[in-house]
Subunit: 390 residues, 2 copies
């Protein structure tokens, strides 16, 4: 009883304070509409409005109608800041990407993801990375299992293995974990698929073709070169090749011919060297080379050794090794698939879905930047820009 009376005194005290601030409500006319404003307009309490907003039920049809009308009329927009604070909830995102031991490319989406996470810290968003060994399906499955057991709120995946990828995503569906794909597209049709963020491989092949075409003289040849194992299982590379070929079929003014080549083991320098030498002996008129992966840098020294420095070179990705040759003006163009942004937007889209309840566009292609010695510096500094964004 004593405690109760204390309680009432407390209430009284706080009530006087509330009435003291009532004048403020009148002076915030032009300010943002709050839940309490809707409640007043509809003649109910903020709790009831909240129940309508979050569809928590237990609201009479009459009240619901009045509240919806008030919301409509006042054009209520929830305050994300206040909402995030009140939720006081941690959102855990898991990422399933290849590690960057074999391919420095995979470092880049991670940079973007971490930038995004840094700016979302105060919203309670955290990220846990589960790397798998490039080319190791079993490891992919193992790491996937860890994620499925980890009670995550969302998953960001680069499903580079088709079969195992679908398998993992099906399990996500069962556990009702929404997922977002980056870099590699898989056709999915379920409510937990959020979005695909990546590059348009076909179009990047077309772009490479146009760039080389611009610098070719009539009758010259160009080579499309795959430096990767298992090319025929890699849709990416085949699409790039298709785009490249299609361009020259459509634009025959200069009568450019295409030579196709592939070499698996880039670490076997000797074999690679004699392979390349043979190609340019067989086709002495090749004046342009398009490498479909980020591994162009592996052949640059060989090209110099073979006295083929005037051949135009086009490849992918702003990794350091490639940039070195771009700086020396030996590589002519690098097509940037914006991997940093892929990671950044991947996390941001998950945030939009989880916290802001905004549904992302299902397919988001990032720009294919044409990077040359003369504009490369801006693409390298560009990363800095990202952490300025909140």
């Amino acid at each position: 009883m004593l405690l109760l009376s204390r309680c009432y005194v407390f209430l009284f005290f706080s009530e006087t304070l509330i009435s003291h601030t009532k004048d403020q409500y009148l002076s915030r006319m032009n300010s943002r509409i709050r839940i309490i404003d809707i409640a007043k307009k509809a003649g109910v309490s903020k709790g009831t409005v909240d129940r309508v907003l979050h569809k928590r039920g237990n609201v009479s049809p009459i009240a619901k109608e009045k509240i919806k009308a008030a919301m409509e009329e006042l054009d209520y927009q929830p305050n994300v800041i206040a909402s995030a604070l009140a939720y006081n909830r941690r959102w855990r995102i898991a990422a399933l990407l290849p590690n960057h031991k074999n391919d420095p490319f995979w470092l880049q989406p991670k940079i973007g993801m971490e930038k995004a996470i840094r700016s979302l810290r105060d919203y309670g968003v955290s990220l846990e990375q589960f790397d798998f060994r490039d080319g190791d399906e079993v490891h992919f499955q193992e790491q996937g299992k860890k994620i499925l057991a980890g009670e995550f709120d969302a998953v960001l995946v680069a499903p580079i293995f088709s079969t195992e990828g679908h398998e993992f995503l099906n399990q996500c569906c069962e556990l009702k974990i929404p997922y977002l794909l980056i870099n590699t597209f898989l056709e999915r049709d379920d409510p937990f698929f959020l979005s695909y963020i990546g590059q348009d491989s076909y179009q990047s092949g077309v772009l490479a073709a146009k760039l080389l075409d611009f610098g070719m003289s009539p009758g010259e040849k160009v080579m499309v070169l795959h430096l990767e194992a298992d090319v025929y299982n890699s849709m990416h590379l085949l699409e790039k090749e298709r785009g490249f070929k299609d361009f020259f079929e459509k634009h025959q003014q200069k009568n450019i011919h295409i030579v196709k080549a592939a070499y698996e083991n880039i670490f076997d320098k000797k074999g690679l060297r004699s392979f390349l030498k043979q190609q340019f002996v067989d086709h002495p008129n090749i004046k342009g080379v398009f490498v479909t992966t980020s591994k162009l840098f592996h052949i640059m020294d060989l090209m110099s050794e073979l006295g083929l420095e005037e051949i135009k070179m086009v490849g992918f990705d702003l990794i350091e090794e490639n940039l070195d040759y771009l700086k020396q003006d030996k590589i002519n163009f690098l097509i940037n698939q914006n991997p940093v942004k892929q990671g950044f937007l991947g996390v941001m889209n998950i945030f939009n879905h989880l916290i802001l309840k905004k549904e992302p566009t299902k397919k988001q292609y990032l720009p294919l930047d044409v990077v040359m010695l003369e504009n490369m510096q801006y693409y390298i500094e560009k990363e800095e820009e990202l952490h300025l964004i909140i």
Copy 2:
């Protein structure tokens, strides 16, 4: 006395509440460090910690030392979300840019600014635009005066007039209003200059030169063409020309010669036509044209009429008129100076300064994107991406 006793009862009551939640403090070990955590560690109240954090003085050296040590040890990072909510303050930004009646270019930074503002609404940031007529110094001054009288928290300016620009910025200094420059750089040395965000005009000229050079055959000529009034007062254009010339001086392998030309009144179609015709009669070997402004589209139909369709064309900016000719494969390259991003980052940097107290980099050059028929679609869709960012 009665009130006082109530007050004490109240205090006692609230204390029991605090002790009631003490268990919670133990269970939030791995959660974010708060002000109250520092206060406990330092053996003071949160008020004192707050005074140290905001340098509001009236703190004993001993307390200050203990708090700083605790902050260091716990690696305190303020919660921006909670801070923004508690501030409950409106931040008013003014923008002083040319209107887009004469030049659709100026529409683009505005799109970026509005995107930024939309995502910062809940932080209380608002934007008021003060457009001035392109080329009208007096109107610039008038609109500037309105801003100075408006009690703004920060200003975003494109100071295209040097004298009047400095004058306005000096007044901003007197009123202690921080300002950020976009598009046009002015050398400033005062504490209210936040940042310059724009393009590197010189380098864009170099880039244009390289692009044309790539498609030229030895001995051919290229033209650098200014389509703008008052070229010699426009540092932008002169810098572009300088970069263009410097490239060909450094790279003389193909022995490319430069023809310089300028025409003021683009709306005088007849005059422009005969001017162009004369140029190509005088220099029949011109195989590439570089227009230093966004007004390349004005001469495209004339080029067709004059039977000069095979000449390579390079210009600036992804405005609709230019994009139409890019789609038709008549313009070869457009250099994108990212005006949308200029606006977006301009507002974001001001937000960082005002709310997050992060000092921006003083000079931020945006990428010079090489846009062609084959990758243009991604640069147009790119704007969408911006509003995904929080």
